[in-house]
């Protein structure tokens, strides 16, 4: 009887200590989609190195920002990852607190907030990811204009820009790529024409569906396509469109009132080390800090000339327009049967 009680007590104590230890060894990152920018691999490497867990989180940029807003009084997340404009928007709403990780000075000045409320962790470009075997003999589209060809009817997917940051970057940036003016008319006219070929506006990450060929053409970040080809060995071609593309800084910020602040700062420091940046490069996202890549890896990136016409959009303007662009997309592209 007595030993029994002691056992129970010991087990309870053990359970409490274990949970306390684990509680410290966790960092919550909103928008930590394993199949986007290889966050699955990056967080796993960090856990192996330090024992700190960063669980996957399937929220897109905008959903992450909304969650932070809703939890402002008692934050659940430590940091968040976004497409540039949405991260900028979240920072200007006061959802972040400043933190300049080690290596901060190596980030180019236009890719960070001078106070440290947001900073770029890596870059990507909007690209046309094509599963060539799912095309069934149709030519690989080389430009945004090619995508309007009726032969691709029901084969093209891009992300719902109201939820996913990459979809938002595409929808808001296509106007500039096609040489449109301030009112985005050229861009929206293009999106209306493209609508005829769209299979769906994905609300969830479509990486696995691209690999399987369920989705033959996905407008998404170039890095995801290159990883699909080189790491997951799927027949995926990453096309940088002939008209040019949009450069997309992907940014992070420390959440105001983060529950695991010190762990998060260490994690952020690590993300800017050569080691982590190299790891991101190996998953084909462009490091924000210039790291020396092996020539065999460098050769797998598209040539620099492909990005010659890439547009860099001012994040502040984009952030200011974000809400109205999403509403306009819902009204002009997504409404009515």
């Amino acid at each position: 009887m007595k030993t029994n009680r002691i056992m129970v007590l010991a087990v309870a104590l053990l359970a409490i200590t274990v949970s306390l230890v684990f509680a410290e060894q966790i960092v919550i990152q909103y928008d930590c989609i394993p199949n986007y920018a290889n966050w699955g691999g990056v967080t796993k490497a960090y856990q192996e190195k330090t024992g700190v867990q960063i669980p996957p989180d399937m929220k897109g940029s905008s959903a992450a920002m909304t969650a932070l807003e809703a939890e402002e009084k008692s934050p659940k997340a430590d940091c968040a990852y976004y497409s540039g404009a949405i991260g900028f928007q979240a920072a200007s709403k006061g959802l972040h607190e400043p933190y300049k990780p080690k290596g901060w000075e190596r980030i180019p000045a236009d890719l960070k907030d001078p106070n440290g409320t947001w900073w770029t962790v890596h870059l990507a470009h909007v690209a046309i990811l094509v599963n060539t075997s799912a095309l069934k003999g149709k030519p690989v589209p080389r430009s945004f204009d090619d995508l309007l060809n009726p032969i691709y009817k029901g084969m093209i997917v891009y992300d719902d820009p109201r939820i996913q940051g990459t979809g938002f970057t595409f929808v808001s940036g296509i106007n500039a790529v096609l040489g449109g003016g301030n009112n985005l008319k050229v861009g929206f006219d293009y999106l209306k024409k493209l609508d005829a070929n769209i299979l769906k506006y994905a609300k969830e990450n479509s990486y696995n569906e691209l690999l399987r060929g369920e989705i033959p053409i996905w407008i998404n970040a170039d890095g995801n396509g290159l990883k699909a080809k080189n790491v997951d060995k799927a027949p995926i071609e990453t096309v940088i469109p002939a008209e040019g593309t949009i450069t997309m800084p992907l940014v992070m910020g420390l959440v105001k009132g983060a529950p695991h602040k010190e762990e998060t700062k260490k994690y952020m420091d690590w993300l800017l080390t050569d080691e982590a940046q190299q790891l991101m490069a190996e998953s084909y996202f462009q490091p924000v800090i210039p790291v020396k890549l092996e020539s065999s890896l460098q050769a797998k990136f598209p040539p620099e000339s492909a990005y010659a016409k890439a547009k860099v959009l001012p994040l502040d303007q984009l952030a200011a327009q974000a809400d109205s662009i999403k509403k306009r997309w819902e009204l002009e592209i997504e409404s009515g049967r």
Binding site: L199, K203, R212, P216
Partner: protein
Amino acid sequence: MFTPNPPITASSLNSFRERRQLAPLLLCLPLLLLLLVLLVWPLAHLFQQSLLLTNVPAGRITLRNYLEVAAVPRYRHALFWSLELSFAVASASTLICLAPAWLFTRYQFRGKLIIRGILSLPMTFAGMIVGFLMVILLGRTGFIPQILERMTGSPLLSGVSYQFPGLILAYLYFEIPRATLTLESALSKLDSRLEQAARSLGANRWQVFRLVVLPAIWPALISTFAVTFSVSLGSFGVLLVLSIRRFTLLPLEIFTQYIVPPTDQGIAAAMSLTLLTVAFVTGYGLRRVARRIGVTHA
């Protein structure tokens, strides 16, 4: 041998009645408390939210949110499509479940338990899982289009999962089991001697079904319809995966209003209460109809 009951006095009857009323009330207390915490309070909060404009936090009480739900075509369509879908799914699943439910109540056969077990599986799947299953089955490169391609040379039904019929199929997938189990419990109460009597009076099988069984099970059919209708009205996880173009459902719009910036809690609350009212009115109305029919046939 035979002991007569003690004489019933007025006071003993009263205390008996009181105890009879008090005990069930006490037993229901946890449920009542739960209802208060989980239903009344959130509903009151929702109602308050729906009467305030999100952009004007300290503003006056207004019906603007409800007016907007009625006025904005997207929201109006969302409500009508939700009703359309739920009606289609509820009627189809009630019709389809009739045969299996009948089979389960009237016939004994091997493997009945396991079949019923398997049948109740889809009800436990989350909407998103059903969505992924639909993509695997009827997506662009779904299982069925691939088989049809092998047989006919062209990938028939390819991509149906991203269209309205695909959505109906997905809903049927988890509503038919629910309907079957609901109806089965009602059918098991049906007196099989009625059918035997009708048969022995010379009615054929069809006549037995139409004149004896059907009138008796009408109320059960209607309440099965009511259950599947209200469940369909509220679910949207399937659509989250299938993302049908230019189509939405009211619950999905509520979800979007809450998570997509600029969020609007006021409109979302007004939509939620609209959906709730519709679900309650149809559920309650149908149950009243079912009872009336039940009474006239009893």
